[in-house]
Symmetry: C2
Subunit: 433 residues, 2 copies
């Protein structure tokens, strides 16, 4: 059941929540809603049995909105309509980036600013979110952006408060998260990063554009995206993406290598499920030169075992070789992901993105964020691709990654606002507040 429907039901049942909920649903007249600080849970609750946990509470603190600090040259005001070259440009868009002082952002920001993502007539504002610890580095990034003289980059602001930085964001690229180091467990990441994405979801809900598109890159990105969207009930859940484009790109490259063709000949590659080692790179629906991969690569053992493992483990191999995670190619894949939403998907092809499963046609569990094949008309929105084949092998793999995501979801129930009540009959009733 979608969140909005439930709100309505709660309204009818519980009049004491009425003013709070109606404020949350007020799309046009927004008030900065800032939750009271909550103590950080040092341990996450991963029990599958019931446990009453506190749902996220959004409280209107009625603090005045504060703009993040503009930086240097970008504090100038100007009228783009006044310039001969700039008056044909589109309206400025606001792009918020978390983890802006990190390595992925350090690649991504300069790509965004250069115009290669949104095109040569799209001026942009970059809103950089960092931490207190990284604030000086954030200033360094802003200085380097100044020194790069990008004509399309018209505003840069920096801040450490998501409620300020996400103000009117048209895009939110959520990169900031503790990165996965060598040997680090996924559960550790869930614990560390979940709180951050709950907070950022609330901030987006309070201050971002109602049509903001959110791409979550910080790992574990599927579950972080779920936490984020659950904490932003006024923004359509469909607007939230978890980045699996790097996995798709890697899968294309490995299929091309095996087939002895260049990577531009590979299409229709889906990454199913979680951006983790359970991800399922789909060779059943993929094509090489328009021909099904299985007709081109006859080595089924390679496809079922080595290929999948190669894609799943590519990140780890790179960390070993390079000594750090793959910032540059991750940034490239974020660019690819954005471009795929703002330009029409080529005829007959599709792209992979981790999106909300509500109403999916594949029988995947509802109410998680799962990578699936998508097509876009280039309007920022997407639709799920219907004409895909799912055989027993693929189904079994999808089930495994689905199970992982459901387990992750249970681990972060305290952050998504799910309260489970165990009845004596051990039937579980699940309420979404």
């Amino acid at each position: 059941m979608a969140l909005a429907d439930l709100h309505t039901k709660i309204d009818l049942q519980n009049s004491s929540q009425l003013s709070y909920v109606s404020t949350r649903l007020s799309y046009n007249h927004r008030i900065s809603l800032r939750p009271l600080p909550q103590p950080h849970n040092s341990r996450i609750c991963c029990s599958v049995t019931s446990k009453e946990v506190q749902a996220p509470v959004t409280v209107n603190t009625e603090e005045p909105k504060k703009k993040p600090d503009c930086y240097g040259i970008f504090c100038l005001t100007y009228d783009l309509m006044a310039g001969e070259e700039t008056k044909s440009w589109k309206k400025l868009i606001n792009i918020a980036i978390s983890g802006a002082a990190g390595m992925i952002s350090n690649h991504l920001l300069f790509k965004l600013a250069s115009g290669e993502v949104f095109g040569p007539d799209q001026p942009i504002a970059l809103k950089l979110l960092g931490s207190e610890r990284s604030f000086e580095a954030l200033e360094g990034v802003a200085m380097e952006l100044e020194d790069s003289l990008f004509p399309l980059l018209r505003e840069v602001s920096i801040g450490i408060d998501a409620y300020e930085v996400f103000q009117d964001a048209d895009w939110a690229l959520l990169i900031g998260a503790k990165p996965r180091g060598p040997g680090m467990e996924r559960a550790d990441l869930l614990d560390i990063n979940g709180q951050i994405f709950a907070e950022q979801g609330k901030a987006l809900n309070a201050v971002a554009s109602r049509n903001v598109k959110v791409i979550v890159v910080g790992n574990p990105c599927n579950t972080n995206a779920l936490i984020c969207l659950k904490n932003a009930p006024d923004i359509p859940a469909k607007n939230f993406h978890a980045l699996t484009r790097l996995d798709e790109n890697r899968a294309k490259c490995q299929l091309a290598l095996k087939a002895g063709v260049f990577y531009d000949k590979v299409s229709n590659v889906t990454i199913w499920g979680n951006h983790s080692t359970t991800q399922v790179p789909d060779f059943l629906n993929a094509k090489i030169n328009g021909i099904p991969v299985k007709e081109v690569i006859k080595d089924t053992k390679w496809l079922e075992e080595e290929f999948t493992e190669m894609v799943q483990k590519r990140g780890g191999v790179l960390i070993k070789k390079w000594g750090r995670s793959s910032a540059a190619s991750t940034a490239v894949s974020v660019v690819d992901a954005i471009r795929s939403l703002v330009t029409p998907t080529p005829e007959g092809d599709w792209i992979s993105s981790g999106v909300y499963t509500a109403g999916n046609p594949y029988g995947i569990a509802e109410d998680i964020v799962f990578s699936m094949p998508c097509r876009s008309k280039g309007d920022g929105d997407y639709e799920l691709v219907k004409d895909v084949i799912i055989d027993d092998y693929l189904r079994s793999r999808i089930k495994m990654t689905e199970a992982e995501l459901l387990a992750e979801k249970r681990c972060v129930a305290h952050l998504t606002g799910e309260v489970r009540i165990k009845f004596p009959s051990s039937r579980i009733l699940q309420l979404t507040l």
Copy 2:
């Protein structure tokens, strides 16, 4: 006196050198010329009095040419003329990059591969030069390039031998050098990096395209470029550049900030001289909205003192803020520098580049690499701008940076092949071998 002229003279005077020199001058039928390894000078000779030092010797070892290792997907051969989309593309160009595993390259390579530098119809081959120590990181970079699926990137090869990697290079972007850390003296860099650039000059001379364009980024870049061109006598000295574009960009930004205009309104900014703290950002010839800067910014004290210092020290400030040197904006400025050679310079404007001073119209000492105002027709070549004003203030600053470069040149005499013989009359005769 140019090197080529001297070779001819030596030929006539010394027949024992004839076969060696004529091989060096054979443009069309090239043989891989590899010098015998020379002991590394642990201390540099910086005496201005005479000292006989060994000139660089190029010896034909007649080793077979070896191609650097192609990487993964890029080992495939393909016929670009066979594809519907690719048959209208230009001929593949070879771009060699030294220090390819470093941070500047990590930004630059992905910009080159994306097509934003050479355009959407220019396929490229990237030839990555690293060191034995960085070889695994180099593989990591190649893997990330694979995973980025850039359609225009058709070849990637990696190697640690400049004689292999520079083979047929159309562009050589020489980034690799020990970077200047906080508090490091410029003299330390001269010592450490000079040998590298002498060797790379020899390698370019032996195997690169006769029309290769070389951009030296590794510091001290002016003197490194001088060393490099002196060791590549068969390549026109005019083809060597030392990067001062980042300084130009920084100067534009600071002028814009002071004038309260956006940086796209600032033009005709020259950086004169050395890419060091003696560099001279020229506000005399610079314009804001087409008006001389001095008519827009009346604060002469700021222009003469603060502005110059701000530009000169920007790099140091950034190192402090950011904890490392400014890789991203340096890469952007390399892109700017290349673009300025392959696209016509906008009417009335110019760009700064550290180029060989032979025949310069400004009265700057001959036979050094000095940043000066250049214009290009977009053919890869450039001409020096003649209509610039030089007043007493500017002249005195230019003299200071010239003096620094002449001193640097003396310090690397053992690497440029200059032998000084002190006569009893203390008249100094300078021979260029």
